[in-house]
Symmetry: C2
Subunit: 238 residues, 2 copies
């Protein structure tokens, strides 16, 4: 009963996560903000480094220092998923790493196709690090006939007209869009119609996929350049 | 006096920004967390889109909806820089866009060189969008003699041995590192010694630059892939 009552309060923590309710106080679903989700991969990377360094346990204070995030923020973030620390004992590094991996859906292999085998597409195909996290690039597609049959790190470049047949035969979880922005919308809609559930969009354009069942993650490289610019200007002043 | 008193409190808002003090209550410097800085480019992009749509004024509620961030979070973020809204009047879109641009240091042109003219380096050189924000790619460098004298979008590829002379002659604000990770540390240290104040690091390795005066921004493409994976798995469950 007390538990139910606690849940009935609309909880507003940092970054606007909250719990939604049906009338009667039954929690519908815990909404976790994308701001929290943006931090989770950083925890995962940091913990991976700690494992590589042979560290078995870390206090929330040390983790906080390492992550440049307050200990309270870390606790709040992890509490979204049930919390993983024991008061006074800190965190078990390997356990936390594995649990966060599960939260991020890294327990299974995600097959990726890259649509657009230009410089960026080929650069992504060359990132071996993705495989470490279970992301496996299985094919590239392009319309340039000169690229037909070529490979990048052993991964074949196919012609775009082979896409439909390929997607029927292979399990494709994620499509990376690395082609010119003018074609991105048409291709994205087509990919969604083929049943590909997720699009990793590098095309620097907002995709119009309102009525489609597809998850989109837009990559904005200029955002990180602006962060750099901010720090550069601030550094100059100090 | 009231103002001074207000500043004397250690203010702890979301994302761990705070104000530090000398004994006696004089604010030393306002520390703004990188989490805030990560959101600022998104405000900037969003406001740019609003301008393109011809919108002159926006309520904090509408901006909040558009950004998927709470109105209170937006207020807190902007208050770090003095705040820009008038209670009840919302935000002047163009003014806010320009002010955030200044905060991000976008008022001046930042010259960029790209070290590593492989697929990723060439892909970056092809991003015309960077110029819109004042980031101008002025040269690429590589060790591959086959690339010597070639151009990408009119930007010349130089040999690495020309780097020192180039940096002495030209103003270089940012170096993008897009070469293999094994060489990244050596090159990064050399770039810092040449006086280049900022490194945009794609080499997927933590650079060891402890005693150097250089600002580093690491790009982790796998982070955004993990966010996508989280949303994909969550979407499947719901």
């Amino acid at each position: 009963m007390r538990h139910g009552r606690r849940l009935q309060k609309k909880i507003r923590a940092v970054d606007s996560e909250w719990i939604r309710f049906k009338p009667g106080g039954v929690p519908l679903e815990k909404e976790i903000s994308q701001a929290v989700i943006r931090r989770i991969p950083r925890y995962y990377r940091c913990l991976g480094e700690l494992i590589d360094e042979g560290m078995e346990r870390i206090s929330s204070k040390d983790l906080s220092r390492r992550m440049s995030v307050t200990a309270s923020q870390i606790r709040q973030d992890l509490n979204n998923f049930g919390g993983f620390g024991q008061q006074g004992y800190g965190y078990n590094v390997k356990y936390l790493y594995e649990e966060i991996g599960k939260i991020l859906g890294l327990g299974e292999t995600h097959n990726i196709i890259i649509v657009g085998a230009g410089n960026l597409g080929q650069a992504l195909a060359n990132y071996v690090e993705f495989e470490k996290f279970g992301f496996k690039i299985i094919a590239l597609f392009d319309i340039n006939p000169e690229l037909k049959g070529q490979t990048v790190r052993g991964i074949g470049i196919h012609m775009l007209e082979e896409l439909d047949a390929f997607c029927k035969k292979e399990r494709v979880n994620i499509a990376a869009l690395t082609m010119p922005k003018t074609k991105a919308d048409t291709i994205a809609n087509h990919l969604a119609d083929l049943g590909i559930p997720a699009i990793w969009n590098f095309a620097n354009v907002d995709l119009k996929l309102a009525d489609k069942q597809v998850v989109v993650e837009n990559v904005h490289l200029s955002d990180s350049l602006m962060q750099l610019s901010y720090n550069l200007v601030k550094h100059k002043q100090s």
